[in-house]
Symmetry: C2
Amino acid sequence: DIVPVTRALISVSDKTGIVEFATFLASQNVHLLSTGGTAHQLRQAGLTVTDVAEYTGAVECLDGRVKTLHPKVHGGLLGVRGNPQHEREMQDNGIQNIDMTILNLYPFEQTVNSGAPMAQCIENIDIGGPSMLRSTAKNHAFTTIVTSPDQYAKVQACMQQHGGTRLALRQALAAQAFALSAAYDSAIATWFSEQLTDNDANVPEPVVARIYQPAFPLKYGCNPQQSPAKILSRLGSKLPFDVKNGTPGYINLLDAANAWQLVLELQQATGLAAAASFKHVSPAGAAVAVPLNDLEMQAYEVQPEDAAALTPVALAYLRARNADPMCSFGDFCAVSEQVDEATARYLKKEVSDGIVAPSYTPQALEILKAKKGGKFIILEATPDYQPGDFEYREVYGMTFSQKRNDVIIGKQHMENVVTAQKEMNVRDAIVASICIKYTQSNSVGFAKDGMMVGVGAGQQSRVDCVKLAGRKVATWYLRQHPKVLALPFRAGVKRQDRVNARVRYIEGDFTAEEKTRWEAMFTEVPQVLTDAEKDAFLKGSTGISLSSDAFFPFRDSIDHASKLGVSFVAQPGGSVQDDQVTEACNEYGMAMAFTGVRLFHH
Amino acid sequence: DIVPVTRALISVSDKTGIVEFATFLASQNVHLLSTGGTAHQLRQAGLTVTDVAEYTGAVECLDGRVKTLHPKVHGGLLGVRGNPQHEREMQDNGIQNIDMTILNLYPFEQTVNSGAPMAQCIENIDIGGPSMLRSTAKNHAFTTIVTSPDQYAKVQACMQQHGGTRLALRQALAAQAFALSAAYDSAIATWFSEQLTDNDANVPEPVVARIYQPAFPLKYGCNPQQSPAKILSRLGSKLPFDVKNGTPGYINLLDAANAWQLVLELQQATGLAAAASFKHVSPAGAAVAVPLNDLEMQAYEVQPEDAAALTPVALAYLRARNADPMCSFGDFCAVSEQVDEATARYLKKEVSDGIVAPSYTPQALEILKAKKGGKFIILEATPDYQPGDFEYREVYGMTFSQKRNDVIIGKQHMENVVTAQKEMNVRDAIVASICIKYTQSNSVGFAKDGMMVGVGAGQQSRVDCVKLAGRKVATWYLRQHPKVLALPFRAGVKRQDRVNARVRYIEGDFTAEEKTRWEAMFTEVPQVLTDAEKDAFLKGSTGISLSSDAFFPFRDSIDHASKLGVSFVAQPGGSVQDDQVTEACNEYGMAMAFTGVRLFHH
């Protein structure tokens, strides 16, 4: 399946490496055909080149629009080698075999992106290039299509080794070429439909082409049986992350995409370093860098001597990880600023799958690379990354297309306060709202001191979200109860076991077997934390902000939230029962803002 | 912007309507150029046609591979009208204006789908057609590209009205043409990459083109600010559903896609009619048609005189809707068989957004169409629909590709029973497992009598799922408590209010304001249902099956499940603590199967 190359047609706008490659071809006695600028450059390099016009014998006209659209070019590409009739007809018509085409297409998309006027964009629609590309690719049994400088080394190596091109290489290059052609015309079609001056309903809407270039394979998709799986980017676009360590999985990357957007928006909205801790595509916690008080330091096991060393990023991550530390076990985290050594040292102690951040100090990177036996996933966010405006998603053969949810939550969303109490905790209401923007719906979130203290994700009724998140709020708050702080752990009990043991102590619903194991962690058996003690302590909770991804249909959610120390509520508004919900807030002295923005997320 | 048509080139494989259209063109004094079979057919119809070969003067050779790849054809298409130099050069070279091209592309995809050998598929890659298509579309300021018989009437109408083609029409046709070309080369590229004989790692993986045709617009996406949004299908593929009534939204269709797959698989696995009730892309309930006992009939408000009329579909929906009727408020439902009048009458009473089913009796359709003031969404599933093997999803500029989760859960997954107790309730374990396959992760589900009785969706820790779903199981079971069944509702209290009032009675955590409203629904104030009464009644719960979408990392989930009457457990297995989990099951006399299949769903 080796085909020797006797004649190559070269027509490239990207001249990278072309002289070297053409020189190699000439050294293999390949006859070079070329056009315009390419021919000039090759001749300057001392190569012998035949002009295409000289070969076809056609007069160059129409500003060169048709110079390669000629039977002597396409016949040379398309003739079936070894077919006696074809060979005779080629000879009769002076058509010579062209065995390789090296070309780029005119840079249509760059022209559009440069803001060029319409006429110039149209002028940059390549006609001759795609035609030669397609003829060469079709006839790949005999011909080789080279469409990018990336491919020169490979073709050269193959010719050096085999004296020609192998079928497998020609096939792969042909597949690449058709994909390139599809991508090229897709870009043109998309641009064209945006230019239409008359949205005549009788003209059918054009099809949409999403062209992706493979970036890296995944071990599998959502589950091991969902293989193969891979990550791709839109052709010509970069990925939002660079993998610096480890092998991210499908769900890791879903977590990373959501967590990263969350912390970016938190930082932009508050001006503070932000962090998030994700599990199963919802945040277990998220926070901005607000200093810790003494009780919190005790509850989160921060030693007083370490407190001074807490950088803003470390502080944000510490808060994010301590919203629901039992759920955050094995999380994927994101931070909005460079990861420093202080943050890395803190992270090192936690069981975690990976991190995404804008950058890492060398010391931090060294610490993190050593985590999980070297398998800790480290992603670096692409600077100034802009995702596209529209997202496409295939589910059961339906393709869902929608504009990205690019609303920027800010203080303007907290200004329509409909309650008697007018003062919102704007920062915390924003933190909670941005957090639920990236939480699977239905969702509500509770925030205090710049930190999520309860996230209720994925529920089918609004009040279920409030109850679910509310239980987390109560557990978070009770972690500061004197009896919890005083639990007499034996030496040697591990950090995560201490975290879980405290939560179970608060929840109190042990089975017999579990109780025995639990009690063994202490130097003496702790006294029960009674419901009455919990209720009494919870009365001290106050100033919590609650945000909901959709309106409250009834007042029951507010009634429930009142038991948890909620003082501030943010929700879109728009229920027929808004008045009753507002009345409930007034009864409890809460301030409530109607944001006007629904934040469903799926 | 009107351009008269003096010369048209016609080359079509689909001859539908071409004689009529060409006859019209001839009547407008359009000179016809054509090739081969098309020319023959037009001449038979009495039209005067010039052969392209006669016009170009080139000898036809290479089996016609290059007949239109000629400067006289492409110059005629690409020449800039009104440009003196172009016009002079065209005259000098005998190039005449060609103002319209009417063509189809060779049917590449049909050839591939027919199972043709590779050489024949390659032969069906059209070269001349796409070249003319692209030249004509590029020069649409002057030329008209017609690529489908669907477009003839529109072009004819325009020419009759204006004496030529309008710019808006030429632009729209050009956009269509480039989209067609993109789709064509995308199909070729995809096919090519499947044929590659050598997965040489040095050959870059081809890009992937997903080509979609718009099906219908959506009012908006996940949220009102996410507009525009639409539903598309892969080019050449149909959608899984036909919209028979109403205007489905983005989340409705996500629900429909998941709910429909769920009921199809339930029916296939059990041989029984199946139904599901979805909210926010997770099931609130799902069930197969198992008869109701007397207590259930009371709890679900089925009158004894109506019981006999319950068809299997009605029975399945009734059970699905009664797993968690508070959550199912405003649901999207799916049933696996034709919707009959009995089912429609039951559905009519419920607050629901829409339904998907394989078909509807005329009476059922009439009842459902009248729901929600005529806005009830009715989808009919496409018979024998096959979604593609791979799904693509864009998130924040990353494209995730994975094989669909096409594992078929069946009794073989319940055979690896690792406990002392060996007997599983295979049907219920399968029902629970298929249900969680379509539930947002992490998830666990509890089933009894072919019916989900608790679905825990979207949680970040396994034991949280069990607790969340467990609370639902308890509420479901306690709806059969004598004190609940005996609640003395006033006449006139609505069905959904009765449903919610019972649930709140069981939950018992009223706020003061809520309690007053609640008590007003009764002829006398009901006695409290005490924790002790609830615990005592719950001891009667038994024979429940539990399925988990991933392994139990610790025994705590089993400990917790033991309080709810769980006798059967299905889970993938594979935790380092499998032994302790199995030991816990043995302590409680549960049977547990390791399915070996993880069922994460996002």
